[in-house]
């Protein structure tokens, strides 16, 4: 529990590209995930940023939700 709370406060230690650079990769990451592709190592820092940044993580979740809706639009 302690480590989880500390991670929330201090983030994941390691290379983090920041919000702008992560935002550049967000669409490619979401497309790859939506297409069921394996996530390449080029997204490692992006994924770390998602762990560290609530705003970018929520935005990525939003984009993934949209892609999921587009794939499964449900009854009209």
């Amino acid at each position: 529990m302690t480590k989880l709370d500390l991670e929330k406060l201090l983030g994941d230690d390691g290379a983090d590209p920041g919000c702008d650079a992560a935002g550049e990769l967000m669409d490619a990451y979401c497309d790859a995930l939506a297409n069921g592709e394996s996530i390449s190592p080029r997204f490692d820092e992006f994924v770390r940023h998602m762990r560290n940044c609530v705003a970018c993580r929520e935005d990525t979740e939003g984009l993934l939700a949209i892609l999921q809706q587009q794939e499964n639009p449900g009854p009209r």
Partner: protein, 207 residues
């Protein structure tokens, strides 16, 4: 990357959006319609955040978000490289414009000034992220590190973003800067605190 390497639909979007006025107008309308749907879907998904916002305000917010997203997409069209489908790339702007507006709207009447007494209340009424930290020595070391190692700006942003969980978009608006700049300050503060905790002998307890 040229349009020849894009999927057919993305290539068509690019052709239409860069075509003569008639074709471009139609494509721009379709794009705006898509971005508005995305914005409304995102607002609906975030209904917990948007709970205090009236329905007409939400609709107005989504329209503004879609308008600004459209402007951003058109302005950055030349930077689209086809790493993702065109619609995914474009929807990203609608998500961003919507989420920033919703966060700022939800916090518009709230004070985000750091509370200087926060550390004096520990451990009796620890804020949520701290209340499970059992190791009192670790908390005290963190307290000292925040007081002694961080600049005033780093301390203020760390307290607001990491402890009080103020969205960084809200901080960016209040401080007249960008999400990226706030995040960078937070990231630097976290790195300093990690080092301070290692110096204080708590390296093994770090995640």
């Amino acid at each position: 990357m040229t349009t020849a390497t894009l999927d057919l639909e993305s290539a068509q979007w690019l052709r239409d959006l860069t075509a003569d006025e008639t074709a471009r107008g139609g494509a721009t309308e379709r794009l705006h319609s898509l971005l508005l749907r995305v914005s409304r879907a995102e607002a609906s998904r975030r209904s917990a955040t948007a709970r205090q916002v009236r329905a007409e305000e939400i609709d107005d917010l989504c329209t503004q978000a879609a308008n600004d997203a459209l402007m951003a997409v058109l302005a950055k069209l030349g930077t689209y490289r086809g790493a993702a489908r065109f619609t995914t790339w474009a929807c990203k702007f609608a998500i961003f414009e919507t989420s920033v507006r919703l966060r700022r709207h939800a916090w518009r009447d709230k004070n985000v000034e750091p509370d200087e007494t926060i550390w004096n209340r520990i451990p009796d009424t620890r804020p949520q992220p701290l209340h499970r930290i059992e190791n009192e020595q670790l908390v005290q070391a963190l307290h000292r590190a925040i007081d002694e190692r961080l600049t005033e700006r780093q301390r203020s942003i760390f307290q607001s973003a990491a402890i009080d969980e103020v969205p960084i978009d809200v901080l960016a608006e209040r401080l007249g800067t960008s999400r990226n700049a706030i995040y960078k300050t937070l990231h630097d503060a976290r790195a300093k605190l990690r080092l301070a905790l290692i110096d204080a002998g708590h390296g093994d307890e770090l995640p």
